[in-house]
Amino acid sequence: MNNTLRTRLLSILFIFGLGIYALLPSIRYQLLSDDAKNNLSKDELAYFESKSIKQGLDLKGGIYIVLEVDLPQLVNTLAKNKDKNFDKFLDELSEEYKNSSTDFFTLFEEKALEKDLKLPRYFISYGKTKDQIIEQLNLQSADSINRIIEIIQNRVDQFGVSEPTIQKQGNNRVIVELAGVQDAERARDLLQSTALLELMIVKDVESTNTIVRQIDNLTSMDVEKTNDDVDQLFDTNNSDKNSLGFSSLLISVGSDLAISTSNLSKLQNILNQDNVKQVLDATGSLFLTSNSAATLINDFGEEEEVYLLYHLVDNAELTGGVIEDAQMRLSQSGVSAGQATVQVEMNNEGSREWARITGSNINKRIAIVLDKKVHMAPVIRSQIFGGGTVIEGLDSIQEAEDIAIVLRAGSLPVPVTIQEERTVGASLGADSVSSGAYSMLIGLLIVILFIIFYYRLSGLIASFAVIWTLILLLGILALLGATLTLPGIAGLILTVGMSVDANVIIFERIKEELRNGRSVRSAIDAGYQRAITTIVDANLTTGIAAAVLYQYGSGPIKGFATVLFWGIIVSMFTAIIVTRFIFDYVISKRNIEELSI
């Protein structure tokens, strides 16, 4: 073997060696039994995670969620001196924003200009001019998205998911990927819940009765008015039902009010009426329902699902910001023994406040409100020192654990909405893996048989090149820590196709040169030389398509583009350098008169 051949062989062997070395962790990980996988230490797991090919959500199952900060809500929270005009403006803006892909604050500015809304009137603490205000609001939004990411990271860490990915998209979205998570419903609640804990005083029965009467007046007046207009259109039964107004929806349960599950949307409609809102605002009142329904036997002896309805002081005495720790506990005593509760510990400041609040409200009721749902409303019997409180009324241990997690991780500064979600069940993922891998093997086999059948010994060389293309490509993916998705498997299959194509182009060219009467050696030389430009041009243009896909694509498509891009490079290497070396080596060993091609 002469020197250049030896150098070429060594470099090829070196690259093959690197490819195998890069694949080793993935192979070792695949060979581990499920038990062994579960028993890996944290360091070992981190090693395998960073060094081996990851399976994407579509293969492993899991959940992918894009959360968006509720920007209209953020602006609403930041605004001061809000009036009817502002509320209307914001309602219209958020409706428009829902269907528009324009940046929120650009839209905000346009709309404010169009409606002639004086921004400094509402946002004076953020600046005196429109530009200053918008800039400050932008900063606030950037700040809140960073806090949201931090909090979601906290929650996910405590939930215990391996390899979570949490990243910012644009300036108001967060992408969360939880591979392998089975219970999507639970994970979604955990991510999305604002987890705002509020402690609010419950208003006394007298003022509740007063406000119910006031709202009754407003709603029945409304109904009469509409009845005058459309008298003929409604049959009397229907209008009778409507004219009973607010109190007709309410059921009394002991000293509490309740509302049937079927009437919840009617209740919301009434509470959202402008004139009702005004009355509530004027008296500083707020109506909230309980977090879960109770079953009740109604006047007709039927079972009825109801929610308790609480009339609260619309101003939280204390919020979740003072929480130092929250833990799930099983209740030890009383009627609730054995039920899951969440024990909350407050920091010093919170404890002092809590002592003050409980001290000055003895014999009143205090509602523990989580995300605008009342969990319980016990009567304060005595002043509480030490900053402890308990949340009861939870359905399961799991729910209690999740609430403890979100309380510990902190509440989101602004609510988030789910813009995009993709959940893949583990069974579908497993199906995809097996059918993807299965069809890849069959496809590979057919192609190899075909080229060996067609090109004989040269076909064998090409098959060798194709198999190495796959091994090296997988090695690169492992080095990159890339995630293999279903389109990624399609990309692998395509790479096989391209790798075959490169060999076909070369072989056809060599055949042609042989037909033109060249010797084997010079036909190989000429064939490779001419084929290379074609292969490079063809592959580079495909490479352009791959790069564009990578740039624009999201999630699974990015995976496809990565595989395609590296596949092009690897297949050019094996087709041009590796097979060429084999031909040259064989020719240097013996004098070949006829090429098996």
Binding site: E420, A490, D501, E508
Partner: protein
């Protein structure tokens, strides 16, 4: 082993027939496109739910259950939405168009409703019941369509640029028109078959672009080479010669690619089938268009400019 060698087919003699065929297919596809494409939730927004029952279910049965779905105290009649089998008669795929004022977690609400309404046919573990759940807001949908559109356009522009540099602008025009032709006809076939267009079909479209381009460039490369060596020969015959010279490569590569794609179509499973189908159609059209669009247009352009 050889199938074909030293062929001397006068491809360009059938140029007019080729143009006519492409024009007909193209016009037909554009007409079908105007009738509408089955856009997936990726582009339109909406909710798609894959469910796995423990025994066979009828679509009608599910429609009945979905007549009144209550999610977070709002009632929906979803019986008119698209419901179809997914692989077997035990698995179904439900696609729901985006509704006004969709409540939070609409998809999960529907899953829960069906799960509770058909207790005898669902697995114990609710997580085993849900094969997949996808929800895309209309806003994200329009963003994704925008992205997909621009990714195809920018890929085409970059390719045009590359070919203009490596070859000539005249070559690039033919190549790009061939690609546009491929995409339009593939879309037309999608419209005809009612297959859904999703993010992965867009990936497949771009793969077709790459594949068809491969074919075209292999031929154009030959044309360039032959033009250098034989300045005197009529241009159309140069193109014929180049196509014939690369014909065996074109056929063998198309054949091996089709082998793999057919395997994918048969064994690849429900998720990958639309992708494989797109590729299948695209490979055939791409091979045809390299000859009768890219090369034939090049011949026409040269003829008219001389």
């Amino acid at each position: 082993m050889k199938f074909i060698e030293n062929t001397k087919i006068k491809f360009m003699s059938f140029k007019k027939a080729g143009f006519a065929l492409s024009a007909t297919l193209g016009a037909g596809s554009l007409f079908l496109l105007m009738l509408g494409l089955n856009l997936g939730i990726d582009f339109k927004g909406g909710t798609a739910i894959g469910l796995s029952f423990t025994e066979e279910v009828s679509i009608q049965e599910i429609r009945t259950v979905m007549q009144s779905v209550s999610v977070q105290d709002q009632e929906f009649d979803l019986s008119k939405e698209e419901i179809k089998y997914f692989g077997s008669n035990k698995d179904v795929m439900i696609k729901i168009n985006s509704q006004d004022n969709t409540p939070e977690n609409f998809g999960q609400g529907i899953v829960n409703h069906i799960y509770e309404s058909m207790p005898t046919k669902v697995p114990q573990d609710k997580n085993m019941f849900v094969l997949s759940l996808g929800a895309v807001s209309p806003k994200v949908g329009s963003e994704l369509s925008g992205k997909a559109f621009w990714s195809i356009i920018s890929a085409l522009v970059l390719i045009l640029f590359y070919i203009s540099i490596r070859f000539e602008f005249k070559f690039a025009i033919g190549a790009i028109l061939a690609l546009v032709h491929d995409i339009i006809i593939t879309l037309g076939i999608f419209s005809l078959t009612g297959y859904e267009i999703t993010l992965s079909t867009v990936a497949a479209f771009l793969t077709i672009v790459g594949y068809s381009l491969n074919d075209t460039i292999v031929i154009l490369d030959r044309v360039r080479e032959n033009m250098k060596s034989s300045g005197t020969v009529l241009f159309e015959s140069t193109i014929n010669k180049s196509i014939n010279q690369s014909l065996s490569r074109t056929l063998i590569t198309s054949l091996t690619t089709l082998f793999v794609i057919v395997v994918l179509l048969i064994y690849g499973g429900e998720v990958i089938r639309p992708f494989a189908f797109t590729m299948f159609v695209g490979v055939i059209i791409g091979t045809y268009s390299s000859i009768y669009i890219a090369s034939a247009l090049l011949a026409t352009i040269y003829k008219s400019s001389n």
